[in-house]
């Protein structure tokens, strides 16, 4: 198979074991172009970023910065923006938790209850995300707006005071985050639930466990790998996101991403945001 590409052909090594036809030889050369790309455009900039985060902040963009192992940049960054850090962390944590609550039943239904509709439901999980991320967020902006259906409904049933609003509150920002990162939770959950042997759950029932006990002691522990990877995949991008805070919130709801973006693109204050991000 290696002749298909322009790298030196692998010697016709005998396939050692039938299970796993891994070969020695020069096949690893296939890895090189892609790895170079990642090394130059991902690893190198990230490492460079880390070192810049230790530059002396008294320099400027024009005069350049001196490398002084200025670890205090981290302290400054954390003190300056501690509220942003805490807020980003809180929003991302709440988002992850709500995503888990919403995604679990969905992933469970797809894995065990959907029957022949499984593929259809999987397509439907990702279908809303075909359209632009920004347009979806704008759409939420319309839905949660002051004249929008959700606000008026909540006002009618008096959960929200008559002059209360949803847009420009943390609720709106978190709602946007939850919506936009839901598939990042659903798909890993589905992947691990789908591997659970349904007979184990039936066995729990046969052994007189209630459905809830069966879920708590059998299904949920078996799906934990999915919970963990879903949590990571939701939490990481949610904590760095700044579009939801910008379109659905006000500067009062801004997250660390907003600050980094501003520092980088408008103020060009380099060591500072880097310290932020590396930490």
């Amino acid at each position: 198979m290696t002749e298909a590409v322009t790298t030196p052909p692998a010697p016709p090594a005998p396939v050692v074991d039938g299970e796993n036809a891994r070969r020695r030889g020069w096949g690893w050369l296939l890895l090189i172009p892609g790895m170079l790309w990642l090394a130059i455009f991902f690893l190198f900039p990230t490492v460079q970023l880390f070192f810049t985060s230790l530059y002396d902040p008294s320099g400027s963009f024009e005069r350049g910065y001196a490398m002084t192992w200025h670890v205090a940049n981290y302290a400054d960054a954390i003190i300056d923006t501690s509220n942003l850090f805490v807020r980003s962390f809180m929003y991302a944590a709440i988002t992850t938790f709500v995503c888990l609550l919403l995604a679990y039943p969905l992933a469970y239904a797809i894995a065990f209850k959907s029957g022949r509709w499984k593929n259809v439901m999987l397509v439907l999980v990702i279908a809303p995300f075909f359209t632009s991320f920004l347009l979806r967020t704008l759409s939420w902006r319309a839905i949660l707006s002051d004249q929008g259906p959700v606000t008026s409904f909540l006002q009618t049933i008096a959960i929200l005071p008559d002059d209360g609003r949803l847009l420009a509150t943390p609720v709106a920002v978190i709602a946007g985050l939850v919506y936009n990162f839901l598939p990042f939770m659903t798909l890993p959950l589905y992947a691990s639930l789908d591997k659970v042997d349904y007979r184990l759950i039936e066995a729990a029932g046969d052994l007189y466990s209630s459905p809830f006990t069966g879920f708590r002691t059998v299904t949920f522990p078996l799906s934990l790998p999915g919970v963990v990877s879903g949590t990571l995949l939701t939490f990481i991008p949610a904590s760095g996101d700044y579009i939801n805070a910008e379109l659905l919130g006000t500067p009062k709801q801004y997250m660390i991403g907003n600050r980094i973006q501003a520092a980088f693109l408008t103020e060009r204050n380099y060591p500072w945001p880097r310290a932020c991000r590396s930490s």
Partner: protein, 266 residues
């Protein structure tokens, strides 16, 4: 459980319904996000009317297609190397491939921009830097997707081909590639959609270029033209058709047709 699951699915479609409805909205003011005012077909006929909208779409397509081709080729090669070959440093390679997916996009974008500035190519920011950035963050997703497909493939089929005197190239072309194809196609589609929809990394590395997501974002100041929602609806419908087509393609490809066609008729 099924009922709750379906409710969650319905919830995810609410904004899509809104985008669809707003694409027929005739706003009285300049901005179209507030509420539905009156029905019109007008927006669908004048998609290109807002200044720069169609230009940004064209640029987005050019960047995403270029980046998708590059990322799919490089990523597929990497996946083959990782699944089919043993060599020292496989674990490290896997880690390096995983890292970009675990890094917040702000970090990817800003560090790349900082590097472009440091190297002194910030004058070139635009098409080339965008392609570089998009290949960088889609590559890992391609590798992971193709790897999953390759790992699930039955290598005995290839051994059988070799036993039947196919040489390595024939085995690759007639057995391996057709079997891996659904994974490669899925990876390419994933790369395209990630690239096309990307805002954060793009915002850092675009220079003066305006892709579609940047155009939408820029409209925040000018007011959101209703035509944006037409584009949103079209994007949804077109990719939906694509995915259904891919789904059908995948199910017909489950047994490679080449194998079947070339079987001697006895």
């Amino acid at each position: 459980m099924l009922f709750v699951g379906i409710l969650v699915l319905v919830y995810t479609f609410v904004p899509i319904g809104y985008i669809f409805a707003l694409s027929f909205n005739q706003p009285s003011g300049r901005s179209a996000t507030a509420e539905f005012e009156s029905f019109t077909w007008n927006n669908w006929e004048t998609i290109c009317e807002p200044d720069g909208l169609c230009g940004s779409l064209k640029l987005s397509f050019q960047i995403s297609i270029t980046a998708t081709i590059l990322a799919t080729v490089l990523g597929t090669l990497m996946a083959f190397a990782l699944v089919r070959h043993t060599f020292r440093g496989r674990a490290t390679s896997n880690l390096v491939i995983f890292l970009p997916m675990a890094t917040p996009e702000v970090v990817l974008g800003s560090s790349l921009l900082a590097m472009f500035v440091a190297v002194g190519v910030d004058g070139l920011l635009g098409f080339i830097t965008l392609v570089i950035a998009h290949v960088m963050f889609t590559l890992s997703f391609v590798v992971v997707t193709v790897k999953a497909r390759l790992a699930g493939m039955d290598s005995r089929l290839e051994q059988a081909a070799m036993d039947l005197y196919a040489n390595e190239w024939q085995t690759f072309r007639l057995i391996t590639l057709p079997l891996a194809m659904p994974g490669i196609v899925a990876a390419a589609m994933l790369a395209f959609s990630l690239s096309f929809d990307d805002f954060i990394v793009t915002n850092f590395t675009s220079g003066q270029s305006v892709t579609f997501p940047l155009f939408v974002y820029g409209s925040k100041l000018k007011g959101f033209a209703p035509q944006l929602f037409v584009v949103g609806t079209l994007m949804f419908l077109i990719s939906f058709v694509f995915v259904i087509a891919a789904e059908l393609y995948g199910s017909t490809r489950r047994s490679p047709p080449n194998l079947r066609r070339r079987r001697p008729t006895y």
